[in-house]
Symmetry: C2
C-alpha cells in the first residue's frame, strides 16, 4: 500500500548539520570504483596486495574459526573487542617493540574508526589540532566532522620539522592543541620517515607544551631498507597509538586498534557504544585463527619483497619519464611516493585527463585541510598494488599528462598571456 | 628504549570534547561481560539465538566465499557497500514489502552505524529530534554524541500516541524537528507495535509538519502472532529506513543498511568515508553466500518458533511470580517485554541485587533521554536468548528482588518514614 505524495520537502539542504558543509569527499574513495576497472592502472588506493594470500588456506582458517567459535563469533561482542583478539594484538605489538597488555587497548573497525572515535572524544568545534603537512586524508576527513582548527607543520625528508613545531607550540601556548597527529614511519602520503632525533624531540615538545601525541602506524612493519626506528609509543607510555591488520593481513576484516591510557580508553569505549555497539566478532575470531595458525611473517615478508620491487620500479620510471621540474620522495617502506610539481600546475585538474589515459592518482590538495589551497601542485602515487611493468606504464602515462600541461603553460608564457 | 616521565598530564579531563560529558554508557553494553557468565541468566541483551545456526555449514559457506571472492572480500571495499550485497538486500526487502534498487541504499556496520551516520549528518547541537518514550537506548547513545534536544512522545499498546505527537509538532512548529525516530514494529524496548491507523497518521503528520521519519526495523521479520503490517517505508518513499541482518542471520557480521533518498545518501556516504573508509567486505561476501546458498527462511522460522515459546514462557512466569503492582506489555514478535513497576521503585538501584541473585535486566531509565528522570520504575527484559525453564527461573529471581523492595517500602510506610 502506498500513500502517495507525502512529505514534500523542496529540498533537504537546510536540514543538514553544519559539520556536513565543511566535509569533503575523499578522492581515494571516490576513485575506488574507477580503480577497479580493468582498463585503469591505479596509483590511487593504498591497497595491500591481497593476491599474495593463500586464499584456500585462509578459507579453511575461517571455516575452522566459525565451527569452533561461531557461537561467539556470530553473536554481538564486547564493545572494546574480544579479549582473545586483544591478546593477539599484544603479541603482534612486540614486533613493533611495544609492550602492552589487553587492558591497554580497544579493538576498532580498522584504525580509521579509531580516528573518528578520537575526534569525537577530543574535538570541540574550533579546537586546535596539529598535523603534518601533507597528512593522511582519511584523518582529515575523520577529524573534520568535529570541526577542528587544523594547524599544519611542514615536513622534509626526516619527517615533521621540529623547529617549526616548536615555533607553533610556542605561538599557541601550552595545553592549547588537543593533540599532535603524526604518521612517523613511511608517511601517508609523503613517504618519508621521522628521524630518531626528531622522534625524541617530538616526545619532549609534547611534554613541554602539555599536549597529546597520536601516532598512526599502519605501515611500520613494511620496511624495505634501513634499520627499524623505535615507535613513539615505545618511547612514552602516554602516546596514543593506532595499529591495524590491514597491511599485515587484510583490510577486508576491518580490524584495527587504539592503545591509550585508561581514562582515554574509557571515554573511547563509551563513544564506541553509540557508534557501532561492537565491531565484528567474526572478523576478530578469523584474525585470531589466521595469526595463530598461518606463517604470517613469512607471507608478509614475501609481500614486502614485491612491494620493494614495485617501489624500485616506480622510482626508476619517475627518473625515466617525469620532467626535470618534478621532485619526489624516496620511501624506505610503506606504499606511497609524494610528487611535487611546479606551483603553476594543478593536480586536481589533471585527474580527468589521467583517467582518460587510464591511470589514477590522488591529487595533493586532499592531504591538506580544506580551503587551505595547499598541495594543489602535488600528488600521491601508490606503488603497492600494481606489478613493476604496469607501474612503469602508469608513470609513463602520467608523465604525458604532466608534459601536456607543462607545454600548455609554456605556450601561454610565450604568448605573453601569463607571467613566468 | 624508553624516555621516562614524559607528558605529565595531571589529568585529561579538560581535554575531552563537551559532547562526552553528556553521553552515558549503555547498561546493555556494560552488562555484556556479566551476561556471558555461566552463573547469570541474562534478560539484558537483545541477542538472537545463534546456537540455532548450522555452524558447520556456515563455516563452509564462509570458506567458499573466501576461496571464490577473497581477492575482493579481503580488500578494501566501496564505502557504500558491495553492489552484490545491495542486490541481496533488495531481495530481502521484498519480504518486508519494500521495493528498492541498489541505488537506494548504503550498507552499514549494523544498523547502529546508520544511526550514528544519521546523527552526524543531521544533528547540530540543540536541534530538536522526536523519539518514542521509551526508545532504543542505542539510538539515544548514537544521537547524543551530536547533542540534540530530544522530545519524547509517550506510547500505549498501539505504539506512539499520534494525538500527543500532533500536539508536540503543533507546539514546536513546521520543519523544526530534524526527524521523528520510530521503531514501529515489535518496539525495543516497549514490545508494542504501531497500529495501521497510526502508521498512516504518522506519515500524514510528517508531511503536514515537514519533517523526516526514520523507521528502525530490526525485528519486523520476527512475528509470532497476528497479521503483518506495512512498513512506513512501503507507505512513503521518503521515509529513511534502517534494516539489519543481525536478527535474521547473525549480528557478528555487523551488516545493516539504510534506505534513503539520494541527496541524503550522498551526505551519509561522505560522512561514512571519515567514519570507517568502508565496512568489512569479507562480512558482506559471507552474507551474500549465506542468503544465496542456505535455506535462511526455514532456519529463521525455526528460530521464531523458539522465540515464541520463550515469549510465552516469560509471560506465564510474569503472571506467576510478579506482584500485582507490576504491569507489562505482551509483544506479538521481537525480543522484549517492558515492565512497569510502581513509581516509588527504582530499577537502576535493583540491578546489583539482581546480579547477586544471578539475573540481569536493563533498567528503564537508559531508554529515556539523559537527565529526564523517566523510566526509573521500568525495566526491559529480553526473552530471546534463554530456554523457557531458564526464563521462568530468571523471572522468579527477579520477582524476589522486586518483592524485597516492595516489602522494604511497606515497612517504611508502616514506620511512618514515608508517606504512602
Amino acid at each position: 500500500m502506498t500513500v502517495s505524495g507525502l512529505v514534500q520537502f523542496d529540498d533537504w539542504v537546510d536540514l543538514y548539520a553544519s559539520r556536513v558543509e565543511t566535509m569533503r569527499t575523499s578522492a581515494v574513495r571516490d576513485l575506488f570504483a574507477a580503480a577497479s576497472r580493468s582498463d585503469i592502472i591505479s596509483l590511487s588506493g593504498g591497497m595491500p596486495d591481497i593476491r599474495c594470500l593463500p586464499l584456500e588456506e585462509v578459507g579453511q582458517v575461517a571455516a575452522a574459526a566459525i565451527v569452533q567459535e561461531g557461537v561467539a563469533g556470530l553473536q554481538y561482542g564486547d564493545t572494546q573487542g574480544r579479549v582473545q583478539t586483544k591478546e593477539l594484538v599484544c603479541e603482534l605489538m612486540k614486533d613493533w617493540d611495544i609492550d602492552v597488555t589487553p587492558d591497554d587497548l580497544t579493538i576498532t573497525t580498522g584504525a580509521q574508526q579509531a580516528l573518528d572515535l578520537l575526534g569525537k572524544t577530543f574535538i570541540n568545534s574550533g579546537d586546535i589540532i596539529i598535523t603534518e603537512a601533507p597528512t593522511y586524508l582519511g584523518a582529515l576527513q575523520a577529524f573534520s566532522a568535529y570541526q577542528p582548527d587544523v594547524h599544519v607543520i611542514p615536513m622534509d625528508d626526516d619527517g615533521m620539522r621540529m623547529d617549526l613545531l616548536e615555533e607553533e607550540l610556542k605561538r599557541i601556548g601550552k595545553r592549547t592543541a588537543k593533540f599532535i597527529y603524526t604518521i612517523p614511519t613511511f608517511h601517508n602520503p609523503a613517504g618519508v620517515t621521522m628521524s630518531l632525533e626528531r622522534r625524541i624531540r617530538l616526545v619532549e615538545l609534547a611534554k613541554e607544551y602539555d599536549t597529546m601525541i597520536i601516532e598512526d602506524d599502519p605501515y611500520g612493519r613494511l620496511r624495505f631498507d634501513g634499520e627499524p626506528l623505535p615507535t613513539l609509543r615505545s618511547m612514552d607510555d602516554r602516546v596514543v597509538y593506532l595499529g591495524t591488520i590491514s597491511k599485515v593481513f587484510a583490510p577486508g576484516l576491518r580490524t584495527g586498534w587504539v592503545i591509550a591510557p585508561l581514562p582515554i580508553r574509557q571515554k573511547i569505549n563509551m563513544v564506541k557504544q553509540g557508534s557501532d555497539l561492537c565491531g565484528s566478532a567474526l572478523n576478530q575470531v578469523i584474525c585470531e585463527h589466521y595469526f595463530a595458525s598461518m606463517p604470517w611473517r613469512e607471507i608478509l615478508d614475501g609481500v614486502c619483497v614485491k612491494y620493494r620491487e614495485r617501489r624500485d620500479a616506480m622510482l626508476s620510471a619517475l627518473e625515466e619519464f617525469f620532467p626535470a621540474e618534478a621532485s619526489w620522495t624516496r620511501p624506505q617502506g610503506g606504499f606511497f611516493v609524494w610528487v611535487t610539481l611546479p606551483e603553476y600546475l594543478d593536480t586536481p585538474q589533471m585527474l580527468s585527463a589521467a583517467l582518460e589515459k587510464g591511470v589514477t592518482f590522488v591529487p595533493g590538495d586532499g592531504c591538506y585541510p580544506g580551503g587551505s589551497g595547499m598541495g594543489k601542485n602535488c600528488m600521491r602515487i601508490a606503488f603497492c598494488y600494481e606489478e613493476p611493468e604496469m607501474l612503469r606504464e602508469a608513470i609513463r602515462r602520467l608523465a604525458t599528462v604532466i608534459d601536456e600541461r607543462l607545454a600548455l603553460y609554456r605556450a601561454f608564457i610565450q604568448a605573453g598571456a601569463l607571467k613566468a
